[in-house]
């Protein structure tokens, strides 16, 4: 039952969207005519990753609002086995003397595979960003929570050789979660933004860290 509620929530969230993305945006130089944002990025996030993204500005009278879709994959010999797709909304809520506060809420689909296991997970990622934004540069702090809500496990024959009793199927109601916090900064020229962000990741018990306890990203946006 709980899963159905989660499913309905994510479905409702998605149905609200026209299109989507999760970039780091310079709200200071954004204008109403910037309908699209294209993004490429590379960085460290639970490993070495590369990503692309697309954002679409949803015109409304209340807040600057972007719908986003983002795809990233982990480096290695097989670039299709470990990947993540985020879909969601990005809203700038507050603008006060160039200090701006925005949030991002994304549904996440991710996949992982190695010799022992294939995992497919549905999760969520909620981020708050508070920063100082000018036309040509910005500096901001971000904090967020990335939750693995429900995950499908499919063990390989190799792992079943080690432990025949290992169960396949859906595991929940949650299989994991990590908090993260960090800073982001960037500069803008013409229709372009170059940004960098970096921070630290903590598991949800606040006592342990993932194997890669930091994250970082170098990215480029073009606004169309």
């Amino acid at each position: 039952m709980k899963n159905i509620k989660i499913s309905m929530f994510i479905l409702a969230l998605m149905l609200m969207m026209n299109a989507i993305k999760a970039q780091t945006i310079n709200w200071g130089c954004l204008n109403r005519n910037d309908n699209h944002i294209l993004n490429v990025n590379a960085g460290l996030e639970y490993g070495t990753v590369f990503g692309v993204g697309y954002g679409y500005q949803i015109k409304n009278k209340l807040f600057p609002l972007f719908a986003n879709v983002e795809y990233s994959f982990a480096s290695g010999e097989n670039i299709f086995d470990d990947m993540k797709t985020k879909v969601g909304l990005q809203v700038r809520w507050v603008d006060f003397h160039n200090f701006q506060f925005s949030t991002r809420l994304h549904g996440v689909i991710r996949r992982y595979e190695n010799d022992n296991i294939r995992l497919v997970d549905f999760g969520s990622d909620l981020t708050g960003v508070l920063g100082y934004y000018r036309k040509t540069w910005f500096l901001a702090a971000e904090v967020g929570f990335d939750k693995a809500i429900i995950t499908h496990f499919k063990h390989s024959d190799a792992y079943h050789e080690q432990y025949p009793g290992a169960l396949n199927g859906w595991f929940g109601p949650t299989t994991g979660g990590n908090f993260y916090y960090g800073v982001q900064a960037g500069f803008s020229f013409g229709k372009n933004d170059v940004y960098i962000k970096a921070g630290k990741t903590l598991t949800q018990d606040f006592k342990t860290t993932p194997t890669v306890p930091i994250y970082g990203q170098l990215g480029y946006n073009v606004r169309l």
């Binding site: 998605m14 190695n114 595991f171």
Partner: protein, 336 residues
């Protein structure tokens, strides 16, 4: 664009609804990793030094005891089961999963941390308890056969109790002083952030997280890392490589090592029995010079390279065991 989004939405929704039945808990014992001896009383076990240990013994109970010590910390004795053959040659062969490892009982991380370097003494005390459990008479000889971390533990034990052990086989200990161990581990893992192997280790941290003493989850995550290692020539994906890893004992003993820099070669000068030191040809992190360096603390020592295998193959590879390792080990033990 709208069409694509609708298709994606429909697919996402279908997958989510498909997930609505048969939801399982990752913390449920036995669902992802095997139960430990305190959770499954049908498993063979002994209780020593306040811990239930997964243990078995083969051969005549009154014969000379050979205690097999597995690697890790946090591994188990499954990959060493070839050593059972020694029972057919007149020995009492004892296997046990060390505390917090394999199918043995788990303990909170705090227990080890509070002990500091005493956590290593706890492992020695467990070994003393295992020997005492299987010993049937006072004159019964005891030999140790340790692989990797088990070889380090065995060396440390004979350094501490040089008169308690009458024979020692060490198979490719990374080092015996902590700096050597770390040097070896770094060489063996050769971390490359761009590689598939690295990302296979780090990427799952966003799917599965466990609290400090959620052993099922942490052990499972460590098991998922079992892989081939081209540097050391190991292949932990082969059938029968392990039952269950012990993540807490693994990480905590490493942390304690980093804090206290233990020297497992201490006292070895008092151990006057010849030592058989085995290392493997295909472990590229263990060249001849490294084997010579690490084995130099034993006097006298028979340094032998096992051809055609990597780190674990010394004991786990059937052919290497039958044709090289076992004859060498038997010849050594029979000479004592």
């Amino acid at each position: 664009m709208n069409f694509i989004i609708k298709i994606l939405t429909a697919a996402f929704a279908a997958l989510l609804f498909a997930s609505c039945d048969k939801e399982q808990l990752i913390t449920e014992p036995g669902s992802l990793v095997p139960r430990t001896v305190d959770e499954d009383l049908t498993l063979p076990s002994i209780t020593v030094n306040g811990a239930m240990l997964h243990a078995e013994a083969f051969g005549d109970p009154d014969s000379t005891i050979i205690v097999c010590l597995h690697g890790g910390p946090g591994g188990d004795y499954r990959y060493m089961l070839n050593c059972k053959d020694l029972a057919d040659h007149g020995y009492r062969v004892v296997f046990y999963d060390q505390r917090g490892s394999g199918l043995s009982q788990r303990f909170p991380e705090k227990l080890y941390r509070d002990l500091g370097l005493g956590a290593v003494d706890l492992m020695y005390d467990d070994l003393s308890g295992v020997i005492a459990h299987y010993r049937t008479h006072a004159n019964q000889k005891v030999f140790l056969l340790g692989h990797s971390w088990g070889a380090i533990l065995a060396a440390g034990y004979v350094g501490k109790y040089p008169l308690a052990i009458q024979g020692l086989v060490v198979c490719e200990p990374g080092g015996l002083v902590f700096d050597d161990i770390i040097h070896y581990v770094n060489e063996a893992r050769s971390p490359n952030l761009w590689s598939e192997w690295s990302n296979d280790i780090t990427y799952p941290d966003q799917f599965i997280t466990g609290k400090k003493d959620q052993h099922e989850i942490l052990d499972y995550k460590l098991s998922m890392r079992a892989s081939k290692n081209d540097v050391t020539g190991e292949d932990n994906t082969k059938p029968g490589s392990y039952w269950r890893y012990g993540a807490v004992i693994n990480s905590t003993l490493y942390d304690i090592g980093e804090q206290y820099h233990p020297d497992f070669s201490q006292g070895l000068t008092f151990f006057e029995v010849p030592v058989l030191f085995l290392y493997s040809e295909k472990n590229h992190a263990y060249p001849d010079e490294w084997a010579a360096r690490i084995s130099s603390v034993f006097h006298p020592v028979d340094l032998t390279k096992i051809a055609g295998v990597g780190h674990d193959g010394i004991v786990s590879d059937d052919e290497a065991w039958r044709n090289m390792t076992m004859p060498k080990v038997l010849s050594y033990f029979n000479s004592l």
